[in-house]
């Protein structure tokens, strides 16, 4: 299997169905079974099929038959507005939230077969490293302890845990803070230590919900290059974000979600279709209004 170079030009999926999905979004909801990546299981790191979540008595599902196929080695961006269902989808894909229906399969492992997250959760979770958005951390532990705890919980060897903890702390540029309790960290530092805790077991798939929120530009660049190296070594990264520029520069694949549905997915070039991702996103999602017209009164008195 070839390793993708960074840049938005690596078409890993069949171009036909991807483009077709993009075309159809204005008329109808994209439904599954147009493409079947299970036919090429070796290529997929994460396969989401008809994933649906209905909360209580809500009329509209928070996630509505979500289909995603994340190719192995890709840097996959999931974009959408607030409440589009990104976090719900990623929570279900990582075993944090039980779906109402649908399946999630994770690739990887030595024999490279797909594992059902909600069936064989132990094996699936070994392959995944997850950064949940907005979750508390065990913040009375020091930074090092938190990272090590994450490793020890997975039954890793102590010396390996110690060694990797030091490496990760260095990679995240947290040497000075690693001995202090996480509750004293700034938001960006907290994000970084949580990212380190998600990576200690060397997963084959990283699922990161808003990883760059409140991270300073230098650290963000460092983390980005670290993630690139990881994908070049065969790892797969899924990030969710609102920041279109970042996703366009960073990700080679992208999926657009709105109101619990996937509106488009494919390589970044396919989805963008010649526009910038931001313009393409707005034309897909809609809802743009002329704020200036309506908010005439919004001026200092």
């Amino acid at each position: 299997m070839s390793i993708p170079t960074d840049g938005p030009t690596t078409p890993r999926r069949e171009p036909g169905p991807g483009a077709a999905t993009t075309e159809r979004t204005h008329q109808d909801v994209p439904r599954p079974q147009d493409h079947d990546p299970a036919a090429r299981p070796g290529a997929a790191a994460l396969v989401v099929r008809a994933l649906t979540k209905v909360y209580g008595h809500a009329e509209r599902p928070a996630a509505d038959h979500v289909d995603l196929t994340v190719p192995r080695g890709s840097f996959y961006g999931l974009v959408g507005r607030n409440g589009a269902g990104k976090t719900t989808t990623l929570s279900m894909a990582t075993g944090l939230l039980r779906p109402s229906s649908g399946t999630v399969l994770v690739g990887g492992g030595s024999r490279d077969e797909l594992v059902d997250v909600w069936g064989d959760s132990v094996r699936a979770k070994q392959r995944m490293g997850v950064l949940p958005d907005g979750a508390h951390l065990f913040d009375r532990l020091t930074g090092r302890q938190l990272v090590a705890y994450s490793g020890l919980l997975r039954g890793m060897d102590r010396e390996v845990v110690k060694q990797r903890t030091e490496d990760l702390v260095k990679a995240m540029d947290l040497q000075d803070a690693a001995g202090r309790q996480v509750q004293d960290y700034s938001a960006g530092m907290t994000k970084k230590i949580a990212l380190a805790a998600a990576m200690i077991h060397a997963p084959s798939l990283l699922v990161l919900d808003e990883p760059f929120e409140s991270v300073d530009p230098v650290s963000a660049a460092n983390i980005r290059s670290l993630l690139y190296q990881y994908t070049e070594a065969g790892g797969t990264v899924v990030v969710s974000s609102h920041v279109m520029d970042l996703v366009q520069r960073m990700c080679d694949h992208v999926a657009v979600m709105d109101q619990g549905r996937v509106l488009a997915q494919g390589t970044t070039a396919q989805v963008c279709d010649g526009l910038s991702l931001e313009d393409r996103f707005v034309s897909l999602v809609g809802g743009r209004t002329d704020a200036g017209e309506e908010l005439q009164w919004l001026r200092p008195e």
Binding site: K53, Y55, H57, A58, R60, A63, R81, N82, G83, G85, T87, S91, T94, G95, L96, L97, V122, K125, P132, D133, G134, A135, H136, F138, R140, L141, T142, R144, Q145, Y149, L152, L153, R154, G155, M156, R158, K162, G179, R180, Q181, Q183, D184, M244, D258, E278, D279, V282, S283, V285, G286, G287, R288, T289, D290, A291, E294, L295, W297, R299, E301
Partner: protein, 613 residues
């Protein structure tokens, strides 16, 4: 994923009346903060296509536009002032209606909360009816007794309002100044709003009715009846202002780690003081009965009791005394108001106090984690142990232990019975303490879910940390008991009883807490803060759980009693054997069953505890 964001429902100041642009947050706004949890309405539907699409994702969210009603557009096209300074009373009224709205929303959120509240309300109504009947019969007594009873009951009422919210950490956090810091509110408005808000809710409403019903007790004298109503209102004011004052001060105090220790020392001192008081009580009920009028007479000249004695003075025509007592009341209300205002102003100006954290000492390496076997069970145990030491929510539950020891020590001077309960009581409370463990983790529990920690490892790890903390405490309690009771022969039986309660209790709690959680303050908040959504039903469940653990301790307890009656040491040793075997068996079964449950429903549990804030 577990979102720890703030529920937007609590923020808009009475949306139906506000004139600012935040009016009428429709469901679209709600769904911004709580992905998926809110109903989805069509505000974000792709209908309006802007020509200039460049800034769509980064500027004003589209919902904001959709939510601005036409009415907010001033006639002058933006020049007229829409934010005017509200009067104190208007602010207070809006805050009170905010409290009302939050109460209503809390009730309508889930059927169980509603059921719990109704049950609580029925119970309270029963108490109120009893109180009214007593007040009616009190009115037939001599005036002297009416005064005595009024002063004592009134003092108890005031103390209850002042101390209970802080002592039980159930202070009402709805109008917490930390949440209102961003609004241009005056301190007076906030204080008046909090006092008005105290009336909204079961305790406040009941107190009001009881206070007005108090007039019945004075029916032998018309002037006293007339005076008792304003006096009751003054007393209520004293109760509410004092309550807000105490919680404002305690919220400020309870922030830091060091102050938690101070609070615990104060609690200990109070506990020690209760010793002599109860000793006095033990001196004989009749003598106490005779002493009551004297106590009441003294209390009637203190801020706590003065206002309740005024109608009696009026009935007797002691106008000077009545005036003096009113003066005392007025001065205390003013003093409490000033104190509360100072505390509130500090709290308002310091709304981000949570962000100002003390720096902790830096530590090399991974500490205790590096010294235990590298298994998930031990990792969980070490993490929990660190939390027992570092998290005030855990250490607050340890405060009770020295307090209980002190009380037992003093009470034993009267009867040797209480100290026998001490070790068992501490074992019971400690075993019960981990029932909140996963609730305390809150969404940090996601790490356990993501790492796929086996349920059994999770359960055993938490129990191990509990034992490290509680075994020494139970041992101390046993020593206190032994010194006071001096019964060496009963040592094995007491050990057996404690073992059942601690081991078996931990087993029971391991099962129950894997299935049933209750709201606790979220990580990083003070133990004094009350969790939203904690209802009477949760309390009932806790009592049931404690009751079950006590029932499980019965075999060892029965053998202990048999030993005490017969004096045969065999029974004592038998109690130890039974206690140990039963405790270990329960622990083993409990950890297994709880672990299996956890394996099956960890995601559901995570969603449940993530919602606690």
């Amino acid at each position: 994923m577990a979102s720890s964001r703030v529920n937007p429902d609590q923020y808009p100041l009475d949306p139906s009346r506000t004139t600012s642009g935040r009016a009428q947050p429709r469901d679209g706004t709600t769904s911004c903060a709580e992905p998926g949890a809110a109903p989805w309405d069509g505000t974000g539907s792709p209908t309006a296509h802007g020509t200039d699409a460049r800034d769509a994702a980064t500027t004003v969210p589209a919902e904001a536009d959709a939510a601005v009603p036409r009415s907010v557009h001033p006639a002058g096209g933006g020049a007229a002032a829409t934010v005017r300074h509200l009067g104190v009373l208007e602010e207070a009224r809006r805050l009170a209606s905010l409290k009302w709205r939050v109460l209503r929303n809390t009730l309508s959120r889930s059927t169980w909360v509603l059921v719990g509240t109704i049950l609580g309300g029925l119970y309270a109504l029963g108490v109120l009816a009893m109180l009214m009947i007593s007040l009616y019969f009190l009115g037939a007594e001599e005036l002297r007794w009416v005064v005595t009873a009024s002063v004592l009951l009134g003092t108890a009422l005031l103390l209850g309002w002042w101390i209970l919210p802080v002592a039980t950490s159930k202070a009402d956090a709805t109008l917490d100044p930390a949440r209102l810091g961003l609004f241009p509110l005056s301190t007076s408005g906030l204080l008046v709003g909090q006092v008005l808000g105290a009336l909204i809710g079961i305790p406040g409403a009941l107190t009001l009715v009881a206070g007005l019903g108090w007039a019945v007790a004075w029916r032998s004298s018309l002037p006293a009846v007339l005076v008792s109503i304003p006096c009751a209102l003054l007393g209520l004011l004293l109760a509410f202002v004092g309550s807000r004052c105490v919680s404002a001060v305690s919220l400020r105090l309870a922030g830091g780690r060091r102050t938690t220790e101070t609070v615990s020392i104060v609690a200990l001192a109070l506990a020690v003081l209760t010793g002599p008081i109860i000793t006095a009580l033990g001196a004989g009920l009749e003598r106490v009965w005779g002493l009551l009028p004297t106590w009441a007479a003294v209390l009637a000249w203190t801020p706590l009791g003065a206002v309740w004695a005024v109608p009696g003075d009026v009935a007797l025509g002691h106008w000077g005394a009545a005036l003096a007592r009113l003066l005392i009341t007025a001065v205390s209300i003013v003093a409490l108001t000033v104190l509360a205002r100072v505390a509130l102003r500090r709290a308002l100006g310091d709304a981000a106090a949570g962000a100002a954290r003390g720096s902790t000492k830096a530590m090399e390496g991974i500490g205790l984690f590096g010294r235990v076997p590298a298994t998930p069970t031990w990792a969980v145990a070490v993490r929990c142990l660190l939390y027992w030491m570092r998290d005030p929510r855990y250490s607050a539950s340890l405060v009770m232990v020295p307090a209980m020891c002190a009380v037992a020590w003093f009470l034993t001077s009267q009867s040797g019975f209480v100290v026998w309960l001490l070790p068992a009581g501490i074992a019971l409370l400690m075993a019960f303490a981990i029932s909140a463990d996963i609730s305390y983790d809150n969404s940090a529990f996601s790490l356990h879910v993501l790492a796929g920690v086996p349920g059994l490892a999770d359960r055993l790890g938490r129990v191990m940390a509990l034992f490290v903390v509680s075994v020494p405490l139970v041992a101390v309690a046993l020593v206190v008991w032994l010194v006071r009771a001096g019964d060496w022969g009963a040592v094995p039986a007491m050990l057996g009883l404690c073992a059942t309660l601690l081991l078996g209790g931990a087993g029971v709690v391991s099962v129950v807490s894997a299935r049933y959680t209750y709201p606790t303050p979220p990580p990083g908040s003070t133990p004094m803060k009350s969790a939203q959504g904690f209802t009477l039903l949760n309390l009932v469940m806790q009592f049931v759980l404690m009751g079950v653990i006590v029932l499980l301790g019965l075999p060892a307890l029965a053998l202990l009693v048999v030993y005490l009656i017969s004096g045969d040491h065999t029974w004592s040793w038998l109690a130890l054997a039974v206690g140990l075997v039963e405790g270990l068996a329960l622990l083993w079964i409990g950890a297994r069953a709880g672990g299996r449950w956890l394996d099956a429903r960890a995601p559901e549990l995570l969603q449940e505890v993530s919602a606690y804030r």
